[in-house]
């Protein structure tokens, strides 16, 4: 185990996040002779997609699917590459001078980095429906985490609701592991097919086409699927039933566990706090960093690879990580031998084919992104959609001004769970674009740290003298 005290004061390359992008980037750079540290928050590498790849108790390879086990090769490669891989390392700050604030085992350090690759991936899009904060309502991603890390599978009365590939993947994984799902509530708007259909030929050529169809068939054979346009979690102390409606009327199902998911979006917090410029991506309905062909951001020396650069999936993430790493190696060690990016770019292009189809098909409906009335928008500060809408109508122009009125986004999650919702609500009320409304200006620490951790930063010589006046 690497401790905070074992870290050098600087590394040529710091990679943040140990998913496919981070692992691939760190291996490539370390093998090219660049001093590389990879900080990953979890107990083991793999990120979300290959979570617990080195430790999962799920031994039947069919349960999690062959794609999951691809992660093992990436993890082995990174381990053998000579990169310093530190797990349990939470990066809480990054700035444009490329100082990286990191905590390991309750001790903090600020490390200098010659280059930085942010590979912090994606997070699930907020799914603000009435009752989504009740105990018993979780995200599909959280359920999958438990399955991968602990081998636990849901056995209570369970309903999955939402859209997107991960929803169907978890359903299949749960069924294979012996779990039961009472129903799937599919929120994909029917008209999405119109926009998606144009991109079907590309998708048909992508590796995801056959896999996706097989997954849908596997799940649909065993679980009733209802197409819905409204969902509500109901219960006093915890979720007791799920109420859903469609053109055909309203129905209720008793439920112990309601799992929600409507796709993933880039996790922008660290890049945003570092000053990286982001723009609204209307196809993916989220903010994405502005990047060059090598995934370099608007801040010199900082790149964003993986799904953090815009959602494209795990295999694409690894290729993006390699491209970003090659750029970093070339900048740091012009004479080092690196692979040819052309081949990597071609593989990446193949992976990204069909993305347009998936994006358009799985674009969540307005009503599931921009709630009304008493539905909670900001969970930390318990701010309702109505409050956000009223404050926007009163003249509040953006999420940063909104903080002062409602405190939304000022809780411990720093807007991770409400940022997109608040931006889109304000945009809708003010008849502006999300780009015009903007996003929270995020402040470090992007992950909370204790006062004790902060106080544990090694004292500099100048400050020691100042204190000992």
């Amino acid at each position: 185990m690497t401790a905070a005290a074992d870290l050098a004061s600087s590394y040529e390359l710091v990679v943040i996040g140990g998913g496919p992008a981070g692992l691939a980037a760190a291996s490539l750079a370390a093998r090219a002779g660049v001093s590389t540290a990879l900080f990953d928050e979890n107990p083991g590498v793999g990120g979300q997609i290959y979570r617990a790849i080195t430790s999962t108790p799920v031994k039947d390879r069919a349960v999690l699917g062959e794609d999951y086990w691809d992660g093992a090769a990436l993890a082995d490669e990174a381990k053998a590459s000579g990169a310093l891989i530190v797990n349990g390392a939470t990066v809480w700050s990054l700035d444009r001078q490329r100082l990286v604030g990191v905590s390991i085992g309750g001790k903090a350090r600020v490390i200098e980095a010659g280059r930085v690759i942010i590979a912090t991936g994606s997070q699930e899009r907020p799914f603000p429906i009435p009752g989504w904060t009740l105990p018993g309502v979780m995200t599909v991603g959280a359920a999958q985490t438990v399955l991968k890390a602990q081998g636990l599978v849901v056995c209570e009365r369970t309903v999955l609701a939402g859209s997107g590939p991960l929803l169907w993947l978890l359903a299949a994984q749960t069924l294979r592991a012996g779990g039961k799902i009472d129903a799937i509530l599919d929120t994909t708007p029917r008209r999405n097919w119109l926009q998606a259909a144009v991109h079907l030929p590309d998708f048909a050529l992508s590796p995801y086409f056959a896999k996706g169809l097989a997954l849908l068939r596997e799940v649909r054979a065993r679980v009733p699927v209802h197409r819905v346009d409204r969902i509500e979690a109901v219960g006093a102390d915890r979720v007791r039933e799920v109420v859903f409606s469609s053109a055909g009327g309203t129905r209720r199902l008793p439920v112990d566990l309601l799992l929600l998911h409507q796709g993933v979006v880039p996790n922008v917090n660290l890049a945003n706090a570092a000053g990286v410029t982001h723009v609204w991506n209307d196809r993916q309905l989220c903010f994405v960093p502005v990047l060059d062909a090598d995934f370099g951001s608007s801040v010199p020396g900082i790149a964003v690879a993986g799904d953090g650069a815009g959602i494209a999936g795990g295999t694409a993430a690894a290729e993006r990580g390699r491209i970003a790493a090659i750029a970093a190696v070339r900048a740091l060690k012009p004479d080092a031998v690196v692979p040819d990016t052309q081949a990597i770019r071609q593989r990446l292009q193949r992976e990204e084919m069909g993305r347009a189809f998936l994006d358009w098909l799985n674009r969540p409906a307005d009503g599931f992104r921009m709630p009304e009335g008493e539905t909670i928008a900001c969970r930390c500060e318990e701010v309702t959609a109505q409050q956000v809408r009223e404050t926007a109508r009163m003249g509040c122009e953006g999420p940063n001004q909104m903080k002062a009125f409602l405190r939304c986004g000022m809780g411990p999650c720093q807007g991770r769970l409400c940022g997109l919702t608040v931006t889109e609500l304000i945009a809708e009320e003010r008849k502006a674009t999300p780009d015009e409304v903007g996003y929270y200006r995020l402040r470090p620490p992007v992950k909370p740290i204790t006062l004790a951790e902060l106080a544990s930063l090694p004292i500099s010589e100048a400050e020691r003298k100042a204190v000992e006046r």
């Binding site: 001078q97 902060l454 204190v467």
Partner: protein, 371 residues
């Protein structure tokens, strides 16, 4: 098209907004021009301290007139601004420090100012039970308190507009010229003209002054703050230190705001600040030593606001030395929030009537101009 007004106020911080409101209350028509939005910088993101304690003698009159306004702020702006008065306590960390505080309080008393009051260890413990046992006493200013800075600035802006001021945001001043009896203010969104101009441009005010041939040695600074997650209520007054840099307050919602003047690196052209974690760690250690109750606290957010610091640490308030009809109101040197309400009133009086009864003689811009 040239837009005209009685006064153009440059800068939408608490000072510009307060001056605009007080001008409007006097029946004048001000246009306020702000390059971002009102309260975007120091006025919106400062620690919110409303403090008369430990002020320079030159600014005590402004501070006292401000405090009179703070105590009935809702009547003025239609919002209580989150203002709560639980006093500010300057904690002495040693007997030697306390002796210095005693001299200061005696001096103030001789000058007729009674707002600072020396307290012994027992009274310190009564006011701030959570403070470390080794502190021998301090000074309290009992009328002091804290408010919500962005809300306050917005409240002044809103009320100014209700009373007839016009606020133009997202517009940068690019030039300032004499045009007959008027000042011609050129901006990124056209030309404004008025016989009077108030320069309340904060960290950018030196650029306005330079347009008038009054270069001032303004330093751009960004004092850092951090806020913790919610803790059980354990402290009412704002606590400040003298020897080490610290200001410390618990808000009504339980979060604790820690500041004190350690500086980030400001980038005033891109509105960015880069925090210095080594110095925030020094703040964390100071808090750790003074308040054992804070050992389990979590830091949720840290930030810094961009503002102006003058070489002598006190603001520039008064007439331009070169340009008839132009007035300066900037350089509040990391302690201007409390002064906003009163200074706006004084400035409006000065602009409207040509003089003010509040003594501001020591705050003129002349003091920085080479003879």
């Amino acid at each position: 098209m040239v837009r005209t007004a009685d006064v153009v106020v440059i800068g939408g911080g608490i000072h510009g907004c307060s001056t605009a409101l007080h001008l409007a209350l006097r029946g004048l028509k001000p246009i306020l021009i702000e390059k971002d939005y009102a309260g975007r910088h120091a006025s919106g993101v400062n620690a919110g301290g409303v403090r008369q304690l430990a002020r320079d003698l030159q600014e005590i009159p402004l501070s006292i007139s401000s405090m009179d306004i703070w105590e009935c702020i809702e009547a003025l702006v239609g919002d209580d601004c989150g203002f709560e008065a639980h006093g500010t306590v300057l904690v002495a960390e040693s007997e030697a420090e306390l002796a210095g505080f005693r001299e200061r309080v005696d001096d103030l008393n001789l000058r007729g100012f009674g707002h600072e009051e020396l307290i012994d260890a027992a009274e310190l413990r009564r006011l701030v039970p959570a403070v470390s046992d080794r502190c021998p006493g301090g000074v309290v200013s009992r009328r002091d308190g804290a408010a919500d800075p962005f809300r306050t600035t917005q409240a002044f802006r809103r009320r100014a507009v209700e009373k007839g001021a016009e606020v133009v945001e997202g517009v940068t001043v690019t030039g300032l010229f004499r045009s007959g009896a008027n000042w011609r203010v050129e901006t990124s969104a056209g030309v404004f003209e008025a016989p009077k101009v108030v320069n309340a441009a904060g960290a950018w005010a030196d650029r306005i002054a330079a347009m008038l041939g009054e270069p001032v040695p303004l330093a751009v600074v960004a004092p850092m703050l951090m806020v913790t997650s919610r803790l059980p209520a354990f402290i009412k007054p704002v606590v400040i230190l003298r020897g080490r840099k610290l200001s410390f307050k618990q808000l009504g919602n339980g979060t604790v705001v820690i500041g004190g003047g350690h500086l980030a690196t400001p980038w005033r052209d891109s509105n960015e600040t880069v925090l210095d974690w080594q110095k925030l760690a020094v703040s964390a250690r100071t808090v750790w030593e003074l308040f054992p109750a804070m050992h389990a606290a979590t830091v949720v957010r840290a930030w810094a606001g961009i503002e102006a610091y003058m070489p002598d640490g006190i603001p520039v308030v008064g007439r331009s030395s070169t340009s008839e009809g132009v007035f300066h109101q900037f350089g509040f040197s990391t302690h201007g929030f409390q002064l906003g309400p009163g200074t706006g009133a004084v400035m409006a009086e000065l602009v409207a009537t040509g003089s003010t009864n509040t003594p501001i003689d020591g705050l003129g811009i002349e003091r920085f101009l080479k003879k």
